[in-house]
Structure formats: C-alpha cells, structure tokens
C-alpha cells in the first residue's frame, strides 16, 4: 500500500517537474520585436519665420519678417517677399536623409546646390524648422526658426 502511495507521489512530482521544465524552456523563447518605422520627414507646406537671430542677437524685434514665406512642395521651394536667405532665388531642395535629415540643400535655378544645417524639432506639439546660414560674410551667422502658417 505504502509503495503504491509512494509511486503515486513520485509520478505527481515528475508531472509537476515536467510542467515546470516546459514552462521554463518556453519562458526563454525570444520574442521578435518589430522595430518602429521612422517616418519620412515631410516638410512640404508654407512656412513663416517666428524667431530670427544674427550672431546670436535677436532680429525679429527690429526687422519685419511677417511677409516672408518659404514654400516647399514636390521637391521644389519658393521664396515670397524675400529677406536675406541661403539662396536668392526659387529652385529645388533635397534632404540628406529622408528619415533623419540633418542637412538641407537648396539649388536655385542653375546654380550649385547650397547645403546647411537643418533641424526639424517638435516644440509644444508644433513642428518647427530651424535653418542656420550665412548669406553675406561667413563670420555672420543667422538662425531662422520657421513654423507652418496654418
């Protein structure tokens, strides 16, 4: 009787051990994580200047930027009511990387492309476009921060 009972207990322990072993082995199963796809940055639209500095000093309070617009559409850009900018005329633009752009390149007409540092942060839930450039002397650095007009 005792032997039967002991055999019964042993088989119960074995079953539990097997279940635990299977659970243990299953727990080590690697999960395949699908990496989140970074979206292609779309800068198309109509942009206006909301901040501007020259050599670190504010310009927006002493110069009227209200009429200036920078338009991006289908690989082309246009300037409306011009101010000193990286390029003087309308043309085509490209980003160095469509998903992680750090440089923007403007090609005005048949001129050589001009590249500059480019930032595309979201500030207070709104996309901004920051472009740093020197339209005149190389020592004079300008930063324009753009926001979409609507």
């Amino acid at each position: 009787m005792n032997r039967m009972k002991s055999f019964y207990i042993q088989s119960r322990i074995s079953i539990v051990a097997i279940v635990l072993l299977v659970a243990f082995l299953n727990s080590c199963k690697t999960e395949k994580l699908a990496p989140a796809q970074e979206q292609t940055k779309d800068i198309s639209g109509n942009w206006r200047v909301i901040k501007a500095t020259r050599n670190g000093s504010d310009l927006i309070s002493i110069v009227d930027f209200s009429q200036f617009r920078l338009n991006f559409k289908d690989g082309k850009y246009s300037l409306v009511n011009k101010v000193p900018f990286l390029v003087g005329g309308d043309g085509a633009y490209t980003l160095d990387d469509p998903k992680y752009p750090f440089q923007i390149s403007f090609t005005a007409g048949s001129n050589k492309p001009v590249s500059t540092a480019f930032n595309f942060p979201i500030v207070n839930g709104v996309r901004q476009l920051t472009i740093t450039f020197s339209p005149g002397c190389a020592n004079n650095s300008y930063v324009y921060v753009f926001q979409k007009t609507n």
Binding site: G136, C137, N139, N140
Partner: protein
C-alpha cells in the same frame, strides 16, 4: 598666571599690518607687473611687446600651466601672425603655445579659454565688438612650492593683417590652468592689464577702424556684405550736432555698385527712419538689408555706401566727424 603682551608704539602696529598685507598679496595669484608696448606702428610690421609677470605660489599645488591671453582685432588673425616666448630665471626659457579651442577653461563654466576671457573681460576698453581673445599656455607646467616665479613674455605680432589703419586698445590677461579667472578668500588668481592708450596703425590701404573713440555712427556687424542685415546706429551723445532734438532721424544714403552704378536713397519715409532706442537715449537705429534697401538686381552687388543722418525735413545733414562729408562704409568680410 596670566600673560599680558603689550605692544607699544605705532610703528610696530604698522609693521605688523604690512607683514600681514604682504602675506595676503604673496599668497596667491599671478600679477602682470608691467607691459612694454609701442603706441604707433605700421600696418604689416612686426611689433614687439613684453609682458612682465610675477607668479607667487603657495606650497603644495600644481603642476599647472601658466595661461596668457591678449585681446586684438579679429582682422589681425593674431593666432597665425604671433609668436610668444618666455624668459624666466626660475622657470627657465621656453615658448607659449596656442591653446586649442577644444580645451575648456578651468572654472570657466564649460567655455573654452578665449570664450571665457571674452565673458570675463569683454572687449577691454574698446567700443567695437570685432575683437578676439587669443589664448596661450606655457610649454611646461610649474609647481606651487611657495616661491615666486618671475618672468617676461616676449610677443612678436605682425599687426594689421587686414591692411586697415587701426586705433585699438590692446588688453592682456594671465592666470594658470589650475585656477582660471577666479577669486576666493585667499586672493585673486588672475591679472588684467589694459594698455593705457591706443595703438595707432598707419600706412594701410583699407578704412580706418577706430576701436578706441566713440563714433557718431557705427555699423553692426562691423564686417558685412550687401546680403547681410546691417544695423546702423547714430549716437547723438558723442558730440553736439546740428540735428534738432526729435524722436526720429533719417538716413540719406548712396550705394556704389560693382557695375559702376550709383543708387541714392534720400527720402524721409518709414523706409529710412531711424528710431530712438531706447526712448530718450539720443541713440537712433535702423536695420536694413542693403540689397533690398537700394533695390538691386540679382546680379548687382554693392561695394561701398556713403551716408548722412538727416532730420525729418532732410535739410539738416550730419556727416563724418560732424562735418559735411558723408560717413563711408565698405562692404567686405576681412
């Protein structure tokens, strides 16, 4: 048993005070004891300057490098046109080496040495912010062992690389790499010596750049092209002019283009209006984009501009040095 110590006589007290003062002064900090600098030179010549220094050291510190910086016009490109050696009976002889811009200044709040010098000492006694601090350190370090290190820095600088006749007040600072530009209870660890008067460069073919004397008008940035925004400021406090006191003045300007054209904008409208900033300061300012202001075509560029400051009728005109000749400005980058 109590011991009373009485010191009689003024002299003994004075002596004690002097000894204490001497200990405090000797405790810390580098001192520029003198600068030998010429006050006239020819553009393009090599100017010798000697800076005499004394470095009292407290025991048990270092080794640190001795740091030297001087303030010069950016157009001189001093980093390329200067050699500095040092002679010292205690430290020996050697040369000063340019500190890379990637080296951060001790206690400089994350700034490199030239930027820390600019933040601490600004542009010395000069008025136009087109100057730079150039920073050097000794080629060998010294220990703080309680002795006083004396020495001379022998600077040889080719002045006026931009070919401009110049009036400028040079400025010199020293410290060491273990302290930077700081002071504490033990003393001050740096020293500054502004040249007592202006160095005048002559013989150049460029414009006169006067960093020393207040100007009736200034243009910011000092070096710019017609595709920059330029800010023109008229300071009515420099001298009494014929302009009547008013909230506004106007600019009457002529541009000379690369294709030989002359374009004048001489009207009293919002386009040419100079606004008094701040109100009541007698300083008037206008910021404009020369290309648009003079209505240039895409192919034209402006070489130079001359201008007057006028009242609202346009009849009263003030020119260079409060004369009837116009102010002149050349568009260039160096």
């Amino acid at each position: 048993m109590k011991l009373y110590l009485r010191i009689k006589g003024k002299r003994i007290w004075h002596l004690c005070a002097l000894v204490i003062l001497g200990i405090i002064l000797a405790c810390c900090g580098e001192v520029i004891t003198g600068v030998d600098q010429p006050f006239t030179a020819t553009v393009g010549s090599v100017v010798p300057i000697t800076v005499h220094v004394s470095i009292p050291t407290a025991g048990g510190g270092g080794p640190d490098y001795f740091i030297f910086g001087f303030l010069v016009p950016k157009g001189w490109k001093a980093a390329e046109n200067t050699t500095i050696t040092y002679t010292s009976p205690t430290l020996g002889n050697g040369s000063m080496v340019l500190i890379p811009n990637t080296t951060l200044a001790k206690n400089g709040g994350g700034l490199n040495w030239p930027d820390d010098m600019k933040k601490t000492f600004h542009i010395g006694g000069n008025l136009i912010d087109d100057m730079e601090w150039v920073a050097y350190q000794t080629d060998k370090a010294f220990t703080h062992n309680g002795s006083t290190i004396t020495g001379d820095l022998n600077i040889k600088i080719k002045v006026g690389a931009d070919n401009n006749n110049t009036l400028v007040k040079l400025d010199y600072v020293i410290t060491d790499s273990g302290n930077g530009f700081t002071s504490d209870g033990n003393g001050t660890y740096y020293s500054e010596k502004v040249a007592p008067s202006c160095l005048q460069l002559t013989g150049g073919t460029g414009d006169l750049v006067d960093f020393c004397n207040p100007q009736l008008t200034t243009i910011n940035p000092p070096k710019s092209l017609d595709n920059d925004y330029i800010t023109l400021t008229f300071d009515g406090n420099v001298t009494k002019t014929t302009l009547p006191s008013s909230d506004v003045t106007y600019i009457c300007a002529t541009a000379y283009t690369s294709d030989g054209q002359t374009i004048s904008i001489c009207e009293q409208t919002d386009k040419t209006k100079m606004v008094q900033i701040p109100s009541g300061s007698n300083k008037y300012q206008i910021t404009f984009w020369p290309k648009a202001f003079f209505g240039l075509s895409d192919t034209q560029t402006i070489i130079k501009m001359d201008y007057f400051i006028t009242d609202k009728t346009g009849n009263v005109k003030v020119g260079y040095g409060n004369t009837s000749s116009p102010f002149e400005y050349t568009f260039k980058c160096s």
